[in-house]
Subunit: 156 residues, 2 copies
């Protein structure tokens, strides 16, 4: 019997319980955080995440390719998203001075204002719906496990 | 100072580490599992999840409202999704015999065939990219934590 035709290793009950809980909870959490930002600030969660990443950088700038990597987004999806954020006046696109191929996204002062306004709502949601539900020991497990997942998926 | 104007409780470094790892890993994982199903079976991950839920039920049927709850989906989003799955021949919609308001989604034999074909690919991805990266102790933490999150979010 080759490994291709072999019966897959189906999940054991304990594995299934962990996987199901994780999958449902992540979807509920994503929707809840998105809803809170949309209702209070008209901002989608993925857009909020773009503003955060740019705000953390020197000069509020980042190469589009690097930003796509950090957000686990495809280049074409990010490009559409940045176009929307440009129209809203939160971000602008520049050509990279050192590299003719590179395009850089830059947070505008208006984008920074939006981020400062929206951040307290978002962090309150993140606390209320996840972080404050974790013990310090659980935090440590979550950090270690998901860093391992990131390392594994970045290499595949 | 009222609680409304109070400075939000920003995340501490350990909390931020856990949150960041979780957010990035979930997004990478969702994309990877979706890509694998799309490439090998032309099926999106949320569609796969609909087929799974129906297949687990007596008569392969479930009320649309109940299905929406189990998938953490809105009724309108699920309705669009079921329309696509109906066109593909994987699902059909029926009126509920006991309840004039209820609409029921039913898995077709063609849908069950698709599920049987796609399931080994999906379970292999779930194992490789998450489950096999967890120790039994981590599984227990993940199950307990995310069940708590589900309970919390179902009530908000």
């Amino acid at each position: 019997m080759t490994s291709v035709s072999a019966e897959p290793r189906w999940l054991e009950p304990d594995e299934m319980r962990a996987w199901r809980a994780y999958v449902i909870a992540s979807e509920l959490l994503r929707q809840q955080l998105n809803r809170e930002l949309q209702e209070k600030h008209g901002l989608a969660l993925p857009d909020y995440e773009v503003l955060v990443r740019l705000s953390e950088r020197e000069g509020w700038q980042m190469r589009m390719s690097q930003l796509a990597g950090q957000l686990a987004s495809s280049k074409s999806r990010l490009s559409h998203q940045i176009s929307r954020l440009e129209k809203a006046g939160f971000v602008r696109r520049l050509n990279c001075a050192e590299d003719a191929r590179g395009v850089v996204a830059e947070l505008t002062p208006k984008g920074m204002d939006m981020l400062r306004t929206a951040a307290p709502v978002h962090v309150q949601g993140v606390r209320e719906h996840l972080v404050d539900l974790m013990s310090p020991a659980e935090q440590e497990v979550v950090a270690g496990l998901f860093e391992r997942v990131i390392e594994h998926l970045d290499l595949t």
